[in-house]
């Protein structure tokens, strides 16, 4: 943007600071190409260290003084995390796009580390006074005299995995309304038994800057797009509801007609298929997981237990198991921040570490945890770029990004054919895990029974429960059809909600307890 003559950068940022574009303003981006526009490259400090936050009056000098204040009581490390996030939500109900929500968040989180103890404070005012006050509060994690001064800041350039032509802050509601309306039209057209459709489109534009006392300084521009469609259907006196969402680290270009249609028709299908569905039998059955959203299994059963904070504290069921076999041969699990535009992708994590592709399990052997800076130091390892936070209001902790299992060599139909009686789990809505015991659950919205190797009737609404390590040990067939879920996945931990991705090829596991209503 700074290369775009005719637009005063500071003035432009002030507009952004206040809110968002009302109607699309193409003149603001006319001079921007994907590489020279509001992209990672553009915001890289250069020359006089100009940063995005310069527009809010926060220059390198102010950041440096804040870092120094953080170390003023003997802390080992201090960090400034600046964020400006503009979020929009546009909703359709009963045929009309008649509601909109906008949220603007601007602030700074200041973190000071002393050993593995953390001092954290934030402010919602980027004045020097407010930043120094927050740094003073965070500095109190230590109780001595300063040992070191922060190193001079040197900006780092990172590759961009989510270039957008036009940032969401410049996309007006006039461009979004037709997308929402089209999605509704597709859902209603899919089946005449659909009687209600709600659609929402939400977008986010988050600009972050991470600077720390080692001299590291890096910025990122993180776009997010979500479209969600929910349908209600009526048939012979029965009412059912189903939905679908799509999400990516992308701009408005993500919402092609094909994407809208797919989300809308799947939402309708997920509703109407339930009319003939029943409850699965209560008890244990072998489970075949369909590809895609079933990756929640990895997230809950295995992923959280491999976040390094739980292992550093010795409270995970996977503590002290690096290098040990935890799954059969053929099972490889990755947590990956480097996929282009996927929902859990990042250029840098929220500690400024470059995103990585981390192999958690390789051919059945536990290879790595997911680390933030604290756990990486504890284990004397390089970080994995997994330190994430919901916003400047929270300290970072190890979190998943896109978690998935690598393809095996089985054909999916062969896996289904191999089961005499079992459950084919297709759509999950949520899950939970107890890290220490390893017991996890996930909630089946719908699936089908497998009888004599064939998919039969649809079943719905049952909780599945198992023990993560035990279930992982029973994964004996892995399909060649890896699918990454394209919907809006969230993960909650430590009071923080993060966007994540997950995926799975078709796999067969051993028996799990299925919470059906039929005895």
């Amino acid at each position: 943007m700074s290369k775009n003559k005719g637009v005063d950068r500071r003035q432009f940022l002030k507009v952004m600071g206040a809110g968002s574009a009302v109607i699309s303003a193409p003149m603001l981006v006319a001079g921007c190409t994907p590489k020279a526009g509001l992209t990672r490259t553009d915001t890289t400090p250069r020359g006089a260290h100009t940063t995005y936050f310069d527009g809010f009056g926060v220059d390198i000098g102010r950041i440096g003084r804040t870092l120094a204040r953080g170390l003023s009581r003997g802390g080992d490390f201090s960090e400034v995390f600046l964020q400006h996030k503009v979020s929009h939500w546009l909703g359709l109900e009963d045929g009309e796009v008649n509601r909109a929500y906008t949220t603007v968040a601007l602030g700074a989180g200041i973190r000071v580390l002393k050993g593995d103890a953390t001092g954290y404070a934030y402010c919602e005012d980027l004045s020097e006074k407010a930043l120094l006050a927050a740094a003073t509060t965070a500095a109190a994690v230590a109780d001595g005299t300063p040992k070191a001064r922060p190193a001079p800041l040197a900006a780092v350039t990172v590759p961009n995995r989510y270039i957008v032509d036009v940032p969401w802050t410049e996309v007006g509601v006039d461009k979004k309304v037709p997308l929402v309306q089209r999605a509704e039209k597709y859902a209603r057209a899919r089946d005449k038994r659909i009687i209600k459709v709600t659609v929402f489109l939400s977008d986010e534009t988050s600009r972050i800057l991470v600077a720390n006392s080692t001299g590291h300084l890096v910025e990122d521009h993180q776009p997010m797009a979500v479209l969600s469609v929910r349908c209600v259907g009526e048939h012979r006196g029965k009412t059912e509801s189903g939905g679908q969402s799509v999400s990516a680290m992308d701009g408005i270009g993500f919402f092609t007609d094909a994407v809208l249609k797919k989300a809308a028709t799947e939402a309708a299908d997920h509703t109407t298929m339930l009319f003939g569905a029943g409850s699965p039998p209560a008890g244990t059955l072998p489970v075949v997981l369909a590809p895609g959203v079933t990756g929640i299994l990895l997230h809950e059963a295995i992923g959280h237990g491999m976040e390094a904070d739980f292992n550093r504290k010795g409270t995970s069921i996977y503590a002290s198991r690096i290098g040990k076999r935890i799954a059969p041969k053929g099972v490889t699990i990755l947590d990956d921040g480097t996929n282009v535009r996927l929902r859990g992708s990042i250029n840098i994590d929220d500690e400024g570490t470059l995103a990585q592709k981390t192999t958690l399990v390789e051919d059945g052997i536990l290879r790595s945890y997911m680390h933030d800076l604290i756990s990486a130091k504890h284990y004397k390892l390089a970080g994995t770029g997994s330190g994430r936070r919901q916003s400047f209001r929270y300290p970072p902790v190890p979190r998943m990004r896109n978690t998935y299992m690598a393809n095996g060599n089985q054909r999916p139909e062969e896996i289904i054919r191999s089961v005499k009686k079992g459950l084919y789990a297709e759509m999950f809505s949520n899950g939970q895990v107890f890290i220490g015991a390893g017991d996890f659950t996930f909630y089946l919205k719908h699936g089908r029974m497998i009888e004599n190797g064939k998919l039969t009737h649809v079943v719905k609404d049952a909780n599945l429960i198992g023990n993560g390590p035990k279930v992982l040990e029973t994964v004996d067939l892995v399909g060649n059809d890896l699918e990454i879920y394209s919907g809006a996945g969230y993960c909650g931990k430590d009071g923080q909600r993060m966007p994540v991705g997950f995926g799975l090829p078709t796999i067969r596991c051993g028996a799990m307890s299925i919470g059906g209503r039929k005895s």
Binding site: K14, A18, G19, S20, I23, E93, E96, V97, N98, R99, A100, Y101, T102, T103, V104, A105, G107, D116, A117, T118, G119, Y120, Y122, E124, A140, V177, I195, K196, T198, V232, E234, S241, A282, G283, T284, K313, G314, T315, I317, Q432, F434, I435, G436, A437, D439, T441, Y443, K460, D461, A462, N463, I465, G466, N467, S513, G515, G516, R517, K518, S519
Partner: protein, 442 residues
Amino acid sequence: MSNKLLTIAKEVVRLAEKKGAQGARVSVYRSRQSRVEWRDGKLERLRESTRMGLGVTLIADGKYSSNSTSDLRPEAIDKFLTEALAVTKLLAADKHRKLADPERYKNPHTGDLKLYDTTGIAAVNAVERKRAARALEVAARGAPGADRIVSVSSRCSDSVGESALVCSNGLEATRRAAAFVVTAATYVKDAGHRKPVGWWYGVERQRAKLPSLASVGREATRRALMGVGSKPMPSGRYACVIENTTAARLLRWLLAPADGRLIQQKRSFLADKLGQQIASPLLSITDSPHVVEGLGSQTHDGEGMATRKMVILEGGVLKNHYLDTYYASKLGRTPTTRSSTNLVFSSGRNNLSQMLDAMSTGLFITGFSGGNSNPATGDFSIGIRGQWIERGKPVQAVSEMNLAGNHLTFWKRLQELGNDPFPYSSVCIPSLRFGKVQFSGK
């Protein structure tokens, strides 16, 4: 501070009207939270935050939007409102969007709800929080069976919040509240690599009413040890007692479909159940917004309507839905209120131990895991853990089991409510004893 917030809120309403809004509802808040987290003999995290922001609901030309910002610089607010109004005017009109009826703002509760403990706030500081967090750990490690302990985490936190709510059709209200929290979590060794966790906590509006730190720490360890050696029982239909600590999770699923939005959107199994028996005659629930020191107490709801006591269930019969102004208008009904405050239950005579005796054999559920509930049909399924009970006494720790049913039949199997309403939640639910219901296990 509340007066300052009120001044800002009034100014934002004035500005919104000047810029063309026919209706505006503005809330301005400021909150502070301080928290010390302690783990295994040392400080883990120290967190302090002060937060301020405003939320604006706008109605312009029959159109609606809701907006919030944490950037309270006057020039930023001005620009924010201009843009929010312009966005609003690009939406479709909606005749049901209006501010609440000003008659409903009148006669709010005026007594002291004791939500703000001035003495307690003055007494607590960083040193005191650290002392308390350390004492919680010491207590957890001093409990019987402590040799199994792998790790103890504890936390001491307090928060204060102030807010002002102004509606352009005649409401000005302020609120001030504080809360004090202590928690402890203990992980213990079990067979293989299992490390079951137990936790306990206290939350109070008045600091002096917090449970003793020793009791919280000990209880966390006791509850962790209860999970040692757990296993699933065979699938079957069993009687059960659900502990007061965890019963609210199921109860919220029963009541969630009483929400006006789900009813209007035809996603509620309670839409046509007003006046009908949906639960055991033993179950009565009243939404009680004026409980002194109540965690859900408030004098005005989110729309500014003065809060009133409201019967939700009486003898198992559904008496009211939760209806805000918008969805009440869409349904052609009178608004009640948007969401629950404190839920107060009919009380039983027996304590938990007597209830387990009365059950004799079955499952004692002390925690839920995952699960979900379909608001359109009432079907639910959820993971459980707890104890297998024989002759009223725990004989085996249980995990990896599910409880499933349909709310419209499940709650009719309620046989007894305990005399132990849970003190640390706005859902003041006692322990519940049910007849035989469906469990899946091994």
